[in-house]
């Protein structure tokens, strides 16, 4: 080992209690950051999965303009075929076609505006969690004349499985669309907006009722994770060569509020982490300043021998880097153990279970252990510690050898 490294390492242990205290502060801070960041990232992941999984999926193929205007005429022909094509292009399992129309639903007693969605009953459960959230009855079998409605809508219309609903609207060609459907199931998603308007029928019947021919409004894709979205979007852009009227929308465009909500939550979390890191950086600053001040004579002798202040500053920098590396190594090690445990055992805080149950979220978070959640915090602490050494190191440049050697 180089003498400078040996010197730095041994200097660290001249006050071993002080060094361990500082390392301990860094380790504690690193573990806390790993815990907080992995729970945070885990809950974002859960939030995204749940809100995308409910209905919108990770990306959709639509007619241009449909997302904003939702006009029935903004449809794509041969929607089921298109869905099979997308499935092949992406090699993805979870792809389904949908048709969407707005209509008036009436029971014997009341009428309400609804969004009728025509779905492929055997494929829909792969892209959406709604079919799995039935409170009563069963999901669509594929037969004509069946409808599944949201829990709030069912309550508003005062219908139960077996009851009939009249649907009135206008078809794609502007003609009058009317049908009678029998309620077969009631979905309770926990999301009031969905439960109030949700009404699903099978796609072929939807196409008949609304004079759609083979048209539909979207092809929905659900991917195993968010990381695959950009590539899938690029792949699907190829379809536009043949069908320039189609657009590919990713989850961010489909649910613009989601990323925004995550961003602002992150911003407030980073402020808290920043304060934590600042505290640790000050503890390092304090330690290193003390260690520099108490060695004034020693540094004076070294300066007198002709060692440059820059080299002494680098020595202090190296000492700090070693100190910070200890904090980083131990912190990441212990933090990783903690994170791995949480990944297995899950994590919940008081009140979370009730809240999550209401929104149909899992009761516990199982924060995934990622390189980002393990390293982001500790590396920032490491950099903060190095920055904290700048001031003590700069003091060395002001040292005069003669004066420093006279210091007591």
């Amino acid at each position: 080992m180089n003498i400078t490294w040996r010197l730095a390492w041994r200097n660290l242990w001249r006050h071993w209690r002080r060094t361990w205290l500082t390392v301990g502060a860094m380790v504690f801070c690193n573990m806390l950051l790993i815990f907080l960041i992995s729970v945070q990232l885990g809950s974002y992941q859960m939030m995204i999965d749940n809100s995308l999984g409910a209905f919108t999926g990770h990306l959709q193929l639509q007619h241009e303009g449909f997302d904003e205007e939702q006009r029935i005429r903004q449809s794509m022909p041969a929607v089921a075929e298109r869905a099979r094509q997308v499935q092949e292009l992406l090699g993805a399992e979870a792809v389904a076609a949908r048709g969407i129309a707005y209509a008036l639903a009436s029971s014997e007693e009341r009428s309400f505006g609804i969004q009728v969605t025509g779905v492929e009953p055997e494929r829909e459960p792969r892209v959406s969690t709604l079919p799995g959230l039935l409170r009563e009855g069963r999901y669509l079998s594929g037969a004509d004349g069946e409808i599944v409605v949201g829990a709030l809508l069912a309550r508003n219309l005062r219908v139960a499985p077996g009851d009939e609903i009249t649907i009135l609207g206008s078809g794609r060609d502007g003609s009058f669309a009317a049908a009678i459907a029998t309620v077969v199931g009631i979905v309770d998603s926990g999301i009031p907006d969905l439960d109030r308007a949700l009404a699903q029928v099978s796609l072929p019947w939807f196409q008949t009722v609304f004079s759609m021919g083979d048209h539909g409004h979207s092809v929905v894709v659900r991917l195993p994770n968010l990381e695959q979205v950009p590539l899938a979007v690029t792949t699907l852009q190829a379809l536009r060569a043949e069908h320039p009227e189609l657009v590919v929308l990713d989850w961010d465009q489909l649910q613009p509020g989601l990323r925004q909500a995550i961003r602002s939550d992150m911003a407030s979390a980073w402020v808290m982490y920043g304060v934590l890191i600042l505290l640790v950086a000050f503890s390092v600053l304090n330690t290193q300043l003390m260690s520099v001040l108490e060695r004034t004579r020693e540094f004076g002798v070294m300066l007198a021998l002709g060692v440059s202040p820059g080299r002494l500053a680098r020595l202090v920098g190296l000492e700090t880097a070693l100190l910070a590396a200890l904090g980083l190594g131990l912190g990441v090690l212990l933090g990783a153990l903690l994170a791995l445990y949480l990944q297995q055992a899950g994590f919940t805080f008081p009140g979370m279970e009730e809240m999550n149950a209401r929104f149909n979220l899992p009761e516990r978070i199982y924060p995934p252990v990622t390189l980002a959640s393990l390293l982001w915090g500790p590396l920032t602490v490491f950099l903060g510690a190095l920055l904290a050494a700048v001031y003590p190191a700069l003091r060395l440049f002001g040292l005069q050898p003669v004066a420093a050697m006279r210091a007591t």
């Binding site: 001249r14 002798v301 021998l305 060692v307």
Partner: protein
């Protein structure tokens, strides 16, 4: 050629309102190979003069020439480089790096000088033997006596083979026996290697070794005499590195 030429050196220190005279028109010429002692009462300016000659401090006026080169106008960086490469220093005490062993203390300075590791190791072993510390290379300063520590400092000072060694009160913290051994070492190095030694001291034991005695008072040179060194009988040449020098360890 003169090793050091000082001409009309003046230095004053400001301490609050007070102006303290450190050096008052000091002129001194030191030949290569001399063993010179600066003596005089406390506060007479010995350290100030030594610091000026070693480039540790700059005089207010006057000139200093070291080996034919003016150094009184050099920048801080250039002075540091000069001290590193051309001058060996031995200070009063406690001037070793406490966490490094004797060998590492010697090697550290050579590393700063940019010497290759193999050469450093070889030279460090050589000079430590020369100062009589063979076998104690791996001891830390705290594990050595004051005299041994000072000899490590000497080894460090001469490792890069400077032609000039400046020592400020090198024996102040040493017992009589250690002081004598240290001076024997200086004398041997002075004779064998023709290294110029300038020592500042109160210590009569040290002065006894000097071949030239410069007495100072109030920042001025008041006396400058050549003398026959009487420290040790200079019958034959005491060879350094033998147990006679380093028997203490």
């Amino acid at each position: 050629m003169s090793a050091i030429v000082c001409q009309d050196l003046c230095k004053t220190f400001e301490q609050g309102e007070q102006r303290i005279i450190g050096l008052d028109r000091v002129s001194l010429s030191i030949e290569a190979g001399e063993l010179l002692c600066l003596s005089g009462p406390s506060g007479s300016g010995k350290t100030t003069l030594l610091n000026a000659m070693g480039g540790l401090d700059t005089p207010d006026s006057g000139s200093i020439t070291l080996g034919g080169r003016r150094i009184d106008q050099l920048s801080r960086g250039a002075l540091a480089d000069l001290r590193l490469r051309e001058i060996g220093f031995v200070f009063q005490a406690y001037n070793l790096i406490p966490v490094l062993s004797a060998r590492e203390n010697v090697e550290f300075v050579m590393q700063v000088q940019g010497l290759a590791p193999a050469l450093r190791r070889e030279r460090a072993a050589g000079v430590l033997t020369e100062v009589g510390l063979a076998g104690l290379e791996e001891r830390r300063p705290a594990e050595m006596s004051g005299g041994q520590q000072q000899r490590v400092a000497v080894a460090r000072a001469i490792a890069s083979e400077p032609q000039l060694v400046l020592a400020d009160e090198p024996t102040a913290n040493l017992d009589s026996q250690s002081a004598t051994q240290l001076m024997d070492l200086f004398q041997a190095l002075n004779r064998n290697r023709n290294v110029t030694f300038v020592l500042a001291t109160h210590d009569p034991r040290v002065m006894a070794y000097a071949r030239r005695l410069v007495r100072m008072e109030d920042g001025r040179v008041i006396d400058d005499v050549a003398q026959q060194p009487s420290g040790r009988p200079s019958v034959g040449r005491p060879s350094v590195g033998r147990p006679s020098v380093g028997s203490e360890g």
